[in-house]
Subunit: 173 residues, 2 copies
DNA sequence: CATAATTTTCAATAAATACTGAAAATTCAG
DNA sequence: CTGAATTTTCAGTATTTATTGAAAATTATG
């Protein structure tokens, strides 16, 4: 009987493929999302070669995306004794994954926006015309709001899963 | 004296250019982000030709990105009496902008993920092997968490600015 | 209606991004 | 040290995404 094994393989393959397709929407490349998906559903750490084989991708591609995922903190390198090769395993805790993604997005999307808004608000501070005032005000409003969002993200990211859950329950209740 | 006007022009141009560069990170194209930035800081509604001229882009490009922004709800068409051309103006309220972006992201990023997770969880429900159980559990956990996030996003999006502010204050306090 | 203004479409092209594969560099074991 | 295993780099290529510009379609005006 290998019906069960076959069905499982099919379900796993589908998850990896679809998650990869989604990655595009998320602003990360397909391969990175696929590798992440693959490692999330693989109990044992995998080698670069295993990843290459499973996803049918080149060594260079596997390598660079594995490194990128390590840089994000979504996967880690595992060294096995008696093994020279590096193994990779995914962070599997959903709250942890959420925090990592939230932090990275904040760093890449919110912080640069805040910097621009702050600079433009500063540069227009003393332009003493009606248009100048309007522009300055608009920049200030945006800066204030984005700064607020940034602080919120930090706050939530620093929560323990349980605490976040409590807050959420209250919000949804 | 036009020093003030010059400084303002420079600040505005910088904002548009930088916001456009940021757009790339946000998963929207540069032009769309630039047009949005331009309209956010322009008090009077603008025509397609004015946008083309200001950003030095083609008609086709201006047209399709204006339509896309209208579809998002970030800008609206304004008709002026005695004018045949369409004018466009941006939503300027920051909370409103936030909600629109949040909704769109939920629709494009969270909902498809949820659908995949649900499907994979279903398909693995009855695979009666240890590996099958592990996969199913992983899918269930992810589905639950993403579903949760989805509900939270709805909840926050439906809040009035003031209420959201209160919540945030409590969180940050 | 005719026609001029305006909007919309879309094939061709350009630009940005991702991937391959092989060579170079590094690491480790004997 | 030597050489095999492994990791890293990167020039070339492929793929995807964005933009142009001109033609077609639509819409308002006299």
């Amino acid at each position: 009987m290998n019906a069960a094994a076959d069905r499982l393989k099919q379900a796993r393959d589908e998850f990896v493929a679809q998650w990869g397709a989604l990655g595009t929407q998320w602003g990360i490349n397909r391969t990175m999302a696929q590798i992440h998906a693959l490692l999330m559903i693989t109990p044992e750490p995998m080698t670069t070669d295993e990843v290459m084989q499973e996803l049918e991708i080149s060594r260079g591609n596997a390598h660079s995306n594995l490194k990128e995922l390590v840089a994000w903190g979504l996967i880690r390198v595992v060294v096995k004794k008696g093994e020279r090769r590096e193994f990779f395993e995914a962070e599997k805790d959903v709250w942890q994954i959420f925090i990592i993604v939230a932090r990275e997005r904040k760093r890449r999307e919110i912080e640069p926006a805040l910097a621009i808004l702050h600079k433009c608000a500063e540069e227009s501070r003393e332009i003493d015309t009606p248009d100048g005032h309007a522009f300055h005000k608009q920049m200030r409003q945006l800066e204030e709001f984005v700064g607020f969002t940034s602080k919120m993200a930090d706050q939530i990211s620093s929560m323990k899963h349980g605490l976040a859950l409590q807050l959420a329950a209250k919000l949804l209740g």
